[in-house]
Amino acid sequence: MGDFQVKVQPKTYDVVIVGSGAGGGMAAYELSKAGLKVCLLEAGTMYDPQKNVTQLKGPWESKRRGASTKHRPFGDFDACYGGWELDGEPYTKEKGTQWDWWRARMLGGRTNHWGRISLRFGPKDFKRRSIDGLGDDWPIGYEDVKPYYDRVDKLIGIFGTNEGLENDPDGFFLPPPKPRLHELFIKNAAIQSGVRVIPSRLSILTKKIESTTERGACFYCSQCGRNCSVAKADFSSTNVLIYPALKTGNVDVIANAMAREVLTDKEGLATGVSYVNKEDLNEYQVKGKVVILAASACETSRLLLNSKSPRHPNGLANSSNVVGKYLHDSTGAALGGYLPTLFGRKKYNEDGVGGMHIYSPWWLDNKKLDFPRGYHIEYWGGMGQPAYGFGMNIQMLNGKYAVAGKQKEAGGYGASLKEDIRYFYGANVGMAGRGEAIPLESNYCAIDPDVVDQYGIPVLKFNVKWSEHEIKQAKHMKETFKEIMHNMGAVITWGGDDGPENSYGLETPGKIIHEAGTARMGNDPKKSALNKHNQAHDCKNLFVVDGAAFVSQADKNITWTILALSMRASEYIVSELKKGNL
């Protein structure tokens, strides 16, 4: 301890951005390209995909063979540093409520390992209240965002197909990869049940794109979760936005900078950000003409709520009292098992891209169902790279199915066991739904009055419960999945025996890692924190460009819309600065 003082960074920036994921990365890219001086604060460590490599490694190169740890909950080769629990950074929950909070702590955040499922919202997704009376409409519509989706498609690259679907808009797609063997079985089985199946839409380059010479085409190692160090063929904020932005010379990155507060002057305008440096534990301030928050929906609202001042006594941008509220995640439920047809299959390399080659966009009309809002279905299976867990519990399988025509006793050992494991390899299939929850005012995070983290920053307390809408949706997912599995003759080994006692296997809120809604947009400053430009109603030089700005999140993974809205807000910032309005 000793002399405690706050150090003020000498340079005043045009823009200070908090957070370097999809929203912050896009803002840094757009604004630095426009010639603005940008300071990018990241709470986690520096990370360079060209140096921090887990791609194209064999399972034996991990001492735990790819098993998960506290530091890499998605496995030892996963590219994201962070987790569900971080040392020294607690969060709390109201009794009887649930929220699992994923926090990435690295340059680029969770974009380094995400699923690359890149879905545009459709026209209906912006106007849900007008359709079913629940939640609220966005202050903007598809036509407002479409030009930015188009630009994101071309800038970042995405494969898929134009299908002419009303609420799953066409885009600028690279050709998708052909379905794998299990995907052909799934497709036929799903179609039999009236479930639409189309090529997936992932931000992975099946061909080089015109916007850059720095990135190569996918070489099909299926390891997008490890981030594409070799070819930069998938989208991560680091490979695609931040490192290119650094080349402009207009961006300074400050890593290990845990934002404490947005600073404001006596007029209530933002002047910068105060943060603690996690390495030297000193307190710093960095000044900017504009402040952009993109720290993840919950961290952003935490920062706003902790930024109290005489002009903003309820927290910054919170005269409406909505900051922290309407917190919601995608719904999720899954099941899986085996496709006995594939036992003893021929072996070949079917890695493909990192993720599914086909998926099912929402295909039904909610007017005929007992729940609002839809879900899409993701599929998996086949001959993946073995990792910790592979080959376990053979006794649950090899007594049930004849191996190469021979019925065996469950369990066993020796050459016979080796034969069994080879025989069953590559026959697994599974599917998961990702659906739209109704954002509710009663689902929120707020500052816990009693708890601070190790930096003295007050922490979030969560208060979230699923409603019957989401539970009914999960029930429908499971019924659909069972039918698809049945149609193709698959055996369900997990996720098939859920019921009302466990909400039909509906995942805990937060678990799908699509947090959104906690500083929502709107035309009415009494009911929203941001206007239609992601700009705070109460503080014109403060912007929020992560999932916090979302009024609702559709049954589409939210990254592509975060990118489009961040690009749109950045363009607005440049124009407003030029006009002298900020």
Partner: protein, 221 residues
């Protein structure tokens, strides 16, 4: 592992298991740099490197226990026409590391190994590794088949299930095991769809739409 998760883990290799390891419990203990093992070939954060160095510097199993693990793992995964044995693939070293990394395995493994020695002493008046292979197999046969094992063998069955799990997963994630399995990926290539002979085998084909829209590569190159 919960049953559901363990079933999920059987063949879903690429999805990480749900086992969370509280590896940080003793992270405040000093790591002796001189005992650090060669640098990892995969990206490690500072915390991860420290934890791994510390685990590598510790020893869990005794010499006798390691010798027993070696014998058992080769009974479970012996050399055959296709590939080598568990010990050739370094499975005992993997098991030594994994029980340190996943402490929930420690007591079942240690207690199970002791159970095995007591059983062999009762029957043959020798530790398991000192029995001849016929005697060893006689014991293994009594604990390797959960559905037909006698009730008094239940603890042995539980141990053997765990031992078989760790041996199988250690073997099939080794270089020898991956090759044995026929996994051919993890290498730059061009995905051109399911091979024609495989499509034919299952009576499947791509639609005109798929052939027109999806990316194709010249099959002769």
């Amino acid at each position: 592992m919960k049953r559901r998760d363990s079933i999920k883990a059987i063949l879903v290799g690429t999805v990480a298991s749900s086992v969370l390891v509280d590896a940080c419990k003793t992270a405040d203990e000093k790591v002796n740099a001189s005992t650090a093992t060669p640098a990892s070939t995969i990206d490690r954060t500072k915390e991860e490197a420290e934890i791994e160095a510390k685990l590598m510097a510790e020893t869990f199993f005794s010499k006798h226990e390691m010798a027993t693990i070696a014998v058992l793992s080769d009974i479970i995964i012996p050399k055959d026409d296709v590939s080598g044995s568990a010990t050739e693939a370094g499975v005992p070293d993997f098991i030594e590391f994994i029980v340190k990394d996943m402490p929930q395995h420690q007591t079942p493994m240690r207690g199970g190994l002791r159970w095995l020695d007591l059983e062999s002493t009762k029957r043959f008046e020798k530790a398991f590794i000192d029995c001849d292979s016929k005697q060893q197999i006689a014991i293994v046969d009594d604990i390797a088949y959960p559905e037909k094992a006698k009730p008094e063998m239940k603890q042995g069955v539980a141990f053997f299930n765990l031992m078989r799990n760790l041996t199988a997963t250690g073997f099939y994630t080794s270089q020898i095991g991956v090759k044995d399995l026929g996994y051919m990926g993890n290498t730059p290539n061009q995905w051109n769809g399911v091979p024609d002979d495989v499509l034919k085998q299952y009576g499947l084909s791509y639609t005109e739409k798929e052939l027109k829209e999806c990316i194709s590569f010249d099959k002769t190159t």
